[in-house]
């Protein structure tokens, strides 16, 4: 019985890992190949004559480290902004007796429903009027807004599950409502907060269209746009782009690997209590 259980656990781990890793592993293997090898038929999985040339080109052809730094700054700050503003909004929606709560929630959702392409030209004009083009703000603000609906609703869902008596106790001790929010509710809703944060971060990391438009100076480009600069008018050098992507993904992987500990750590405590 125990062996059976353990086998199931192992199999589950393998399935989840394989599902997530296989394109990344394929990219890793491709980054060591040449273009000609890539189109061999039948295809090869392991590179026949592994080469580091792609990595060398990846670092020298474009300032990839700069792109990464830009992405981290923009995604990080926009996530922070989104979480803070979203937490305030989520708290108002779940804890305070407010009229038209459903209307507000619907409006929040409505915001997410317009395709970004159509908002591009007015948004560009706005950023230009404010003199914010080619600054980090031009992306931080829209990214925070892009993820605001999902983050607010996720955090709201988690806030709802937390009994209000805990805050009441804190307020009896002299805490303000907002103080109670940040000191009592959010730590307890940690899995929700970290989930919302990861969602916001990756939304910002992924984003292409706005980044292409708001930042035209190469030194300010983010990763998702920067990597397409390796592309040619006609050409798409897969091995080179795979190498660049591997370089881009590794720090994110480390970040996520570290991050997920806190998600688990935060809630096993809650689970045990429950």
């Amino acid at each position: 019985m125990n062996l059976n259980r353990r086998a199931v656990v192992w199999l589950s781990a393998v399935i989840v890992a394989v599902n997530g890793f296989f394109p990344a592993v394929w990219m890793l293997l491709t980054s060591f190949k040449t273009e000609t090898e890539l189109i061999r038929s039948p295809i090869t999985y392991l590179p026949i004559a592994p080469t580091l040339a792609n990595y060398v080109t990846a670092f020298t052809a474009q300032p990839i480290l700069r792109f990464m730094a830009n992405s981290v700054i923009v995604a990080g700050l926009s996530t922070l902004l989104c979480i803070v503003i979203g937490a305030l909004a989520a708290y108002a929606l779940t804890r305070l007796r407010m009229p038209h709560r459903n209307l507000v929630m619907s409006l929040l959702l409505a915001v997410a429903m317009f395709p970004l392409i159509s908002l591009m030209v007015p948004l560009f004009k706005l950023m230009r009027e404010l003199g914010l083009l080619n600054t980090y703000f031009a992306l931080i603000m829209p990214y925070a807004v892009l993820s605001l609906p999902v983050c607010t609703l996720v955090m709201a869902a988690f806030f709802q599950d937390i009994p209000p008596d805990l805050e009441a106790a804190a307020m009896v001790d002299g805490c303000s409502r907002v103080g109670a929010l940040f000191r009592v509710v959010m730590p307890l809703a940690a899995p929700g907060v970290f989930t919302a944060a990861i969602l916001a971060f990756v939304n910002a990391w992924d984003e292409f269209l706005l980044a292409l438009t708001m930042m035209n100076r190469v030194s300010m480009r983010t990763l998702s746009v920067g990597i397409t600069l390796y592309q040619g008018e006609f050409a798409f050098p897969w091995p080179l782009i795979s190498a660049a992507l591997v370089v881009a993904i590794v720090p994110i992987c480390i970040l996520i690997a570290v991050f997920q500990e806190r998600v688990v750590g935060g809630l096993t405590a809650g689970g045990v209590k429950g």
Partner: protein
């Protein structure tokens, strides 16, 4: 005493919502207002120098007659109908698998989140390569079981299947993440009590897991649906809308109309129609929650 408390609560609520409201007003409301205004104008692109003129609802009426609009709308509906449930099922499966006690947790959690870390555009390109006729991994695997190589991206039906596979792969990661967070707030004591009562794994799943996951499922479904309606990056990267225009989604048609054809008026009208579609889809969800929430309160 209660009246003052009510008032101060309401005031505080408004105060807490203000930052969000300001940000939204600047970044969304203003562009949306411009969008709606533009949808009521038109420019003769053969002679743009003449400027734009007010055309009322002409752009909307034009969409009604436009075959390409209806086709892209249909294609979008197909993607939504297939990928939203599929992503939910796959995501739920992945979340359940990932919720087990592993000794080393990070490979599993990382495997769960990696599809999310890969930029959407590149996920699309990677899958395009996977489904490539001569050198794609999929045809290679099919060959090992004796099936002839398929022209995935040159056939409308197969291309749709390929695109849905890529979308579900990426989206299930998002679902799994939301559901995992939900799963991990379910206290173990409930399961332990159920086991003592002799409930099977399936019964535990249906009677404990699913109901407790409902809020997480709800949020995940709403956002997955809205995103699915806006499907752009993956079909764009995989087929460019081909063969012909058969895999073109509404978002792709809007993109082409606005940025390629420079028909801002028509593009804006299509975007407004997409918004109405999203409203219709999510109002269904919202009505369901209101009803079930009402039921629970009783």
């Amino acid at each position: 005493m209660t009246a003052r408390k009510d008032l101060s609560e309401r005031a505080l609520g408004v105060l807490l919502l203000t930052p969000a409201a300001l940000l939204l007003a600047a970044i969304v409301v203003y562009p949306v207002a411009t969008l709606l205004w533009t949808s009521l104008t038109g420019v003769d692109n053969a002679n743009p120098g003449a400027g734009e003129k007010f055309v009322g609802f002409d752009n909307y009426l034009r969409a009604f007659d436009d075959d390409r609009f209806w086709h892209s709308l249909w294609q979008t509906v197909v993607y939504v109908a297939v990928t939203v449930p599929a992503a939910l099922l796959v995501g739920l499966g992945l979340a359940l698998l990932a919720n087990r006690p592993f000794r080393m947790k990070w490979p599993v959690r990382l495997g769960l989140l990696l599809p999310w870390a890969l930029p959407l555009v590149f996920a699309g390109l990677i899958f395009r390569w996977f489904f490539e006729y001569q050198t794609g991994v999929v045809n290679d695997l099919l060959a090992t079981v004796g099936i002839a190589p398929q022209n995935w991206l040159s056939d409308p039906t197969l291309a749709t299947v390929a695109i849905c596979t890529a979308i579900v792969w990426k989206a299930s990661s998002f679902m799994a993440l939301m559901l995992l967070a939900g799963l991990q707030t379910i206290p173990r004591s409930l399961y332990e009590a159920a086991e003592v009562d002799g409930a099977t794994a399936w019964q535990q799943f249906v009677e404990i897991t699913l109901p407790m996951l409902r809020p997480a499922i709800f949020v995940a479904l709403i956002f997955r649906t809205i995103t699915a309606i806006q499907t752009f990056d993956i079909p764009y990267a995989m087929t460019g809308g081909g063969p012909g225009d058969s895999t073109e989604t509404l978002a792709m048609y809007i993109h082409k109309t606005t940025l390629d054809f420079l028909d801002f008026g028509y593009g804006s009208a299509l975007a407004a129609l997409m918004f109405l579609l999203s409203m219709a889809a999510t109002s269904g969800y919202l009505r369901y929650t209101r009803r079930s929430a009402g039921r629970e309160e009783r």
